[in-house]
């Protein structure tokens, strides 16, 4: 009869040889994960550059990547300021969406009647395109930054709310019984059972909401136009479009995409940090 100690699947049983082939393979995979996308993007940019040069496409139609880079450097002062504005708007709205979504989600999860009463409002906020509400908000809220913040918040808020509610309700029934059996206080139940159970759902929502906050911030700024003291990246794009400065438009667009990618990378990293050691979605499987 095999004892438990010799059962397979031990966490720390690998014998230390000179170089573990598993580590080698893992290193290679990690390198590929970085090198492959960089290589593909570089190749695409080179092809773009070549095609623009080969067909002599005028820069007011499609500028070459090199020209976009040059514009980025030349206009760095104004572009960087606008990027900072958009970053601030995005992060602030995301932060408020997290606070609001989690707080309301907890209330919903605790009380079914409150959820039934308030959920329709959340749905209405969600399904109405932000671009359609933005003009109204801009009229009612005199401070443009606050108005933009509200627009971006509306977009980012819903996934956090709905996933928090689902997550808090997703705790295993037997584990709930276990907590009842040991007479856990409501606080202990929340802290040790409901919140950990909700984390995977919350992290999934965070990844979505991060991107949505940026979209909300940019879209709202488009509606607000370039007027006033607001100077986000969307305003730079609009402004360049009026002046027919296509390379500058691309430069601003590049910064928006870059911002989106950075937000995605950070939220993905956070998710791996929080769930990596236990949740199926983040566990690396061996083949």
């Amino acid at each position: 009869m095999p004892t438990s100690i010799t059962e397979p699947g031990l966490p720390a049983a690998a014998a230390p040889t000179e170089i573990d082939p598993r580590i080698l393979r893992e290193n290679r995979e990690r390198r590929m994960r970085i090198l492959l996308p960089i290589g593909a993007i570089t190749l695409a940019l080179a092809l773009w550059e070549f095609l623009v040069w080969f067909y002599q496409v005028p820069h007011y139609l499609i500028p070459a990547p090199s020209l976009i880079a040059k514009t980025l450097v030349q206009d760095w002062a104004s572009l960087a300021q606008s990027a900072a504005f958009t970053v601030k708007l995005t992060l602030l709205s995301l932060g408020l969406a997290i606070i609001g979504g989690v707080a309301l989600g907890m209330i919903f999860a605790l009380s079914k009647p409150v959820e039934m009463a308030l959920f329709p409002f959340a749905v209405i906020l969600q399904v109405t395109p932000v671009i359609a509400i933005a003009p109204l908000i801009l009229i009612y809220v005199s401070n443009t930054f606050v108005a933009l913040l509200i627009c971006a918040w509306i977009v980012a808020f819903f996934p956090i709310l709905s996933n928090t509610v689902i997550g808090l309700r997703s705790a295993d029934h037997n584990l709930r019984d276990m907590f009842r059996l040991y007479q856990a206080t409501p606080w202990q139940r929340l802290r040790y059972l409901l919140i950990p159970s909700a984390l995977p759902y919350f992290m999934a929502a965070l990844k979505i909401a991060g991107g949505l906050a940026l979209i909300g911030a940019v879209v709202a700024e488009f509606v607000a136009g370039t007027a006033g003291q607001n100077t986000g990246l969307a305003s730079r794009i609009l402004e360049s479009s009026f002046r027919n400065e296509i390379p500058r438009m691309f430069a601003a667009l590049f910064l928006v995409s870059l911002l989106g990618v950075v937000i995605f990378l950070i939220t993905s990293w956070l998710s791996r940090l929080v769930l990596g050691h236990w949740h199926e979605s983040e566990i690396k499987r061996e083949h």
Binding site: P11, M178, R180
Partner: protein, 262 residues
């Protein structure tokens, strides 16, 4: 309380769920300290419901259950009850140590203070070396051992087990059966063990309560006192074979009945 009064007294217990299902009807049973009782029956006959009512996780619709002199689930010290579910029911985000520590943590014991207890419970089930592992790194049998260690962490007097080994392979199951018997003997536990396996119930228990479905009720109460301490050799004895035949027949009767009711 004197030692002769039963640890668990169920009288006229009935459970009707909100949807009208009568899961348990008129169940009367008394269980003495130190008994190893199996609830045996086809699925749907109310075994889990009965067990949950004893633990206080479900309320009774009619009748009374007292555990250790208190109404089930009320008063007394809940440290006294350990519960093992069919699934290991571990927290996937927590290590083996944290999982076993849970009942003690919920009772306000510090991690440092609980460490000896947790380590002792893990040693009982042969998992001392796996305190830092996560549940996903363990086999089904090992997860179930963790679940048993968690139930034992509070040093309960009463251990309730709901088909704990139903999902395990035959060999692991036999090993765990022996482990549970050893725990029962060493710690003078009272065990209620829910199963739908005749062989398991006969091997383990000194009393088999056979239940039938629709509505869930007790149809036989068979004492099987012999053969302790039971080891693998007990499975080869004529006494074991005879007991299996007896219990099997009793169970078959309930199945015929259920069949006719269709």
């Amino acid at each position: 309380m004197t030692d002769t009064s039963p640890l668990i007294q169920m009288s006229g217990v009935e459970k009707q769920f909100a949807n009208g299902t009568v899961a348990v009807r008129d169940m009367s049973l008394s269980i003495q300290k130190g008994e190893f009782v199996s609830f045996l029956g086809p699925s749907g006959c109310g075994k889990s419901t009965a067990l949950k009512m004893v633990s206080g996780l479900l309320s009774v619709s009619r009748g009374k259950i007292s555990v250790n002199g208190h109404a089930a689930g009320e008063g007394g010290d809940r440290n006294d009850i350990g519960f093992v579910f069919q699934e290991a029911t571990l927290m996937p985000w927590a290590t083996v140590f944290e999982n076993v520590y849970l009942p003690l943590k919920l009772h306000g014991m510090s991690k440092a203070g609980a460490r000896p207890r947790v380590e002792e419970a893990l040693a009982m089930v042969g998992l001392a070396k796996f305190a830092k592992a996560y549940p996903r790194e363990l086999s089904g049998g090992m997860k179930m051992r963790v679940s048993i260690a968690r139930a034992m962490a509070t040093k309960p007097k009463l251990l309730l087990m709901d088909e704990p080994f139903a999902a395990l392979d035959e060999m692991t199951r036999a090993k765990l059966n022996d482990d549970v018997l050893a725990l029962w003997e060493e710690h003078k536990l009272t065990v209620i063990f829910v199963t739908h396996s005749v062989f398991e119930s006969v091997y383990l228990s000194n009393r088999v309560v056979v239940m039938a479905a629709r509505p869930g009720r007790v149809v036989h109460d068979i004492p099987l006192p012999g053969g302790y301490p039971r080891t693998a050799a007990y499975r080869l004895t004529a006494e074991y074979a005879e007991a299996c035949r007896l219990v099997s027949n009793a169970l078959e009767g309930t199945l015929d009945h259920a069949h006719l009711n269709h």
